[in-house]
Symmetry: D2
Subunit: 404 residues, 4 copies
């Protein structure tokens, strides 16, 4: 399997033997069982693509980017090329199943970025140090900064791939970006990635596509509602577990339900990472089905809704949810579902979504002009457009069961 | 959700309220958790599309076919249109997870076609008889035979959709067929579906695409090898269960591991169908992971291989596997794995694959000429091509662990 | 040929018999010989698609729009449906070959919109008045205003088709818009077209795509340069003709070179429209080739450059071209080409390009919200984005021969 | 313009400076004005793509093939790579406008293959011998035979490109082949191109696609009818010219109408090739329009039909046209059109079409197996399929004006 079929890029070659072995490693193979977009398939039924496939796609784009940059005279050694490819392959290795839900519930003591680093260090040991440069690059400790930017920046191969891939599998064709054209425009100026001036409109379009994908897919209200439900299911399961209630689950899931592990725990007990690596979407899905018959009425109700896709109603608006509305909803829910006050937060959830398509605060997209000068794109385009896009947009939501 | 996003056909409308309710039914929603192509994603990582999505796609094509046939003057009442759409939606409702593996192991007492009929009857009861005509059509008991052929024949909407869909998600673009062109050529002659003569080359191409998809995807040797492994895992798990060994699993999976239910059992105990309906891919996947640490060495070994994608080697050839080769392999396996004779069949598997792209024996593809005459396509094309394709092709395989 | 193959939309049906006859009419068939994008194929070699093909595509989208609007309860009679379809088919019937070049040179006395109306009136006579409602619609004299907007507005079928089509044939895939999604969101409020609120991001993307296509294709600097060259060729040819120099050309081209006809001339002499209808791209192309050997040095030089694609160099910038730069260029050209002062404007051209992606001044894109309220999109989106886009962008250019 | 936008392959790079100059040469630029598929756009309105674009596409595929073959260990020097790329770029340089029509009428004394060689030799002189190896390769005089096969054989880059390109622009999506997959399977055995055994089904599909494109596009009956009409127009124009009738036309066209030049004439008079190089589609199209008003009734009638797309009716059948049918048609035509006997062959044409999808007689497609053995594909596939396809198929036609 040195060539992988990708419906998006065609036949993708695995560039080196070490990278092939890395892909073969169980830590990487587990990504085959973790969907990139969690519950999104409940809205877009094609969205079953996995983190494995995304990582392979980003690897492919990295190869293209390396070729373009080399052709423009920027030195990238073979060792660096392999390292930056490994870095992009592993950039999301720390994700567990239904990542957001997990981070907000059973694995709330550690962030996926920390887990990624733990995985990388462990893999580096398994590979006798062959990943050292990749890790340096990933942590931005390597002299050539632009290589890090290929892995993590406004225009990294991660984003270029996931926008294309998520568009492809959801069928939201408007999210498709011209990754080949953007990569063709890549350049390096003063050790920073930049885009040739004639690529400005492609970048503008890329930012708008990203924005569209946010509202149409990533923050789609039904997807948000489904994630709220899952978060609450896992919160309830964790609470019950802590109180000694025995719940069905794989040993790995039970371990993570029973305690709140922190980064320290992972460092103290190496086997914990292995246990984490056993988790995937199937642990959650199979348990939710079994829990839908559990005697705990709350757990049962939440799980039953998930399995049969009777999701919570969601109100998503530009203004904050008013206390008055919340109060009304609480009263209705209480009457209708006959629940206790302390159980209310399993049935009434509020939150805030932020769509930050392009932020000048964090890092920027540099445009390089024919005369060699460099400007941030929000200064370079012919209108205020990008500047306008760089304002973060907030929306507020409240989720609750439909009542009649 | 009256409109479903399909990366293949775009925005798919759900035609009627009853069909919407049918799709909402838990029996149908469970198809969201069952992959169309089982283990194929181990070879084609995009192939995670579900039976749910395929059924929706076939529903869409049925709508197109109805419109074309009506425009050519063939009467199809609204009631018939709804019925034939329901029939195609439900044509595969009886499939369980990893269908082949299941039928060859834990659910070996009943075929999926029988399960489909049980599901339909139950749904018909739930829908107060609204599915009666759909069931008649499905069973070919309805007067207008061509409606049944839209659901099940050489050119049914099932095939037109799955070839397109499997090509799309695997990235084997050569399998893509021109479903819109084929549907545009559909006609009815003497109550049988037929294709207008000018569509002959499209049909020829359709048959060759199907043949190609068989060898490139459905019977791909690595896919076959993965399925053999899964069948053996489930066979071993069932054997252990019957001998009283307690294995991890959801209650539904444990029930099916513990006994060999037949159609009669399903008829005697209605709840058995509900239990079957609880099964999906996650039951199998989560268990295989847990079993990979089971103390039974055989189960452990087989599951470990599946999880880390260390599949069996497979030899696939036109000739039967010779007793000599089998003998040699047995000897090597015995030495290498130190297993008992009666355990040999968990590590050495043989079988036969048949690729029957177009069979004149079962039913035919009628071509209708401008003068109204009708011929079978294998008589109508200008060469022996189709006739040649109508010979079934057999290949033989043997699977075994790689040994050095 | 009641079905037309379109690489973009698939099989396009011609909806009625009268429309079929209209397409068969020589006035419409001539559009087969006029490219949609003039000289653009010199930059994007796939851009040979014709005005005929575009009109057919717009007709297809009109059919989709009618279906959507009817499904939302807006009455459109069959007669109106045919009329609005005819109107879109004929919206560009007045275009001649290389439209811009022609309007700026040999047919400078009449605008293509006026010619379109002349053609429509003539066709209406040929079709015994069957086009009357279409013409009313086209001129916005029909009571239902939204029908006119389907033919001519910010979201008319003309734009939806040409953005898709020009993207497809140029290969600038970033210009692709989701015409099916936009059409699905169409609605009518108070007799005006509107877009459902959930379609806002699709519209935003549509406007950005249009903007991108302007700079990347329609106003691409090499395309602008090629058009300047052609305009000058025709200007020179016209000047020579007027001075009695005999130039090669079809009789129709010679007639238009010999005089500057105005709308009045067309009204006085009916045969003039027939002569105009004889012109197409081949008249220009064949003549330019012959003229490249003409004894007039200027005509020869300009034509030679066009044929061998030695286009003028072009400077395109945000600021006006300074008199200083012009002066320098004039001096260099004079020395290098040895031309007279009065011939300078054949070799040094300046101009201004305007990209007005979305203008609130002319007409607007209405967004209709769930509560029935309507806002202009520039008020409705969550940022200043659209407002920013609605500022017209100007660029200035100067064209001249490359000199060393 | 070192990068060319191709809607099919994306951004195509021009590999070397010399190749860039070759593309810039007027002999090559003229291919921008010659359509690949002649009159086919009358049936498939998107089919306006040019021989220029096809040559660029074939150049792109050649680059891919070189990379694959090198990666499999087959030595190709940079010089050879440039030469084989030049050879494919120039393989069709000898085509004139509406090639078939031309060869059968005004340029009937010389074949386009001979013209290609004349152009290559002339270009080689202009390029000071830099094309010598390319010409050797083209003529199969170079030691490494497989390089010639990349330019001309059953699997040459010419076919791979034109099938894809013609499918794309006509919209006959069924003709699309998997050129990337086929190229990925290319290998060289004993200095001959071969396909790896696992690519057999792709090749089978390629042959069937080609066959389909023949009947659906290249030999489409309306296309055949349009070509017959054009051939007759040119025959009549030539006859009139020879008889001293002055016909409108560019000087180049008039020269070729006035005499029947042979290869010898081209060798004796170098300027004749330059004159030939001035011809393109616009010469023919513009003249046909003018001739549609010529006083010669036959020329007028034929041209009028072409311009307004009133093509001849065509009967296309498997059996030879019977003398009886011909006799009847002659009688009817004579009565209806009132023409003389000697003019009959302008209105009644017969001919034979041959679709030879894969011929074992000429050259073969070699399949190379894992054990290194090589077989012709018609021996290697699992059925008689390919053998069946290798029988040439003949059809017979007769064209004549529709009479009522």
């Amino acid at each position: 399997m040195r060539i992988i079929n990708d419906p998006i890029y065609g036949l993708v070659k695995i560039p080196t033997e070490t990278i092939f072995e890395l892909i073969e490693h169980p830590f990487f193979q587990r990504l085959r069982r973790i969907r990139q977009l969690g519950m999104t398939h409940l809205v877009y039924p094609g969205a079953h693509h996995t983190r494995f496939h995304h990582a392979i796609g980003a690897m492919y784009l990295m190869g293209e980017a390396i070729e373009v940059l080399r052709s423009k005279g920027h030195a990238i050694t073979n060792e660096e090329a392999e390292a930056v490819t490994m870095a992009i392959l592993l950039h999301d290795i720390g994700h567990g199943p239904f990542s957001h839900a997990l981070e907000d519930s059973i694995a709330s003591g550690i962030r996926h970025e920390e887990l990624s680093e733990l995985f990388m260090d462990r893999l580096n040991r398994d590979f006798s140090g062959k990943l050292s440069m990749a890790i340096q690059l990933f942590r931005n400790n390597y002299p050539k900064k632009f290589l890090h930017q290929l892995v993590s920046s406004q225009l990294d191969m991660d984003r270029l791939d996931y926008l294309n891939r998520d568009s492809f599998f959801t069928g939201v064709s408007e999210g498709v970006i011209s990754s080949d054209r953007i990569i063709m425009m890549l350049d390096v100026v003063q050790d920073e990635l930049a885009i040739e001036a004639k690529g400005i409109y492609s970048i503008e379009k890329f930012i708008v596509s990203r924005r569209l994908m946010y509202w149409q897919v990533y923050l789609h209200k039904t997807v948000v509602s489904a994630e709220c439900l899952l978060i609450n299911i896992l919160r309830r399961a964790k609470e019950l577990s802590k109180n000694g209630v025995d719940l069905f689950g794989t040993p790995a899931l039970k371990k993570f339900l029973s305690a709140g592990f922190t980064k320290k725990d992972f460092l103290n007990d190496e086997s914990l990472l292995n246990t984490f690596a056993e988790l995937d979407d199937s642990d959650i899905t199979s348990s939710v089905k079994v829990w839908s018959k559990h005697e705990d009425k709350i757990l049962q109700e939440l799980c039953r809704r998930m399995i049969s896709r009777k999701l919570f109603k969601i109100i998503l608006q530009n203004e904050e949810i008013t206390p008055g509305l919340l109060h009304d909803l609480q009263a209705k829910i209480k009457t209708s579902l006959k629940i206790k006050d302390e159980e209310m937060n399993y049935f009434l959830l509020t939150g805030k979504l932020v769509n930050n398509a392009y932020s000048t605060r964090h890092d920027k997209i540099n445009i390089v002009f024919k005369d060699g000068s460099v400007k941030d794109i929000s200064e370079a385009t012919d209108t205020l457009n990008i500047k306008a896009l760089s304002e973060p947009v907030e929306k507020f939501y409240v989720c609750f069961p439909k009542m009649d």
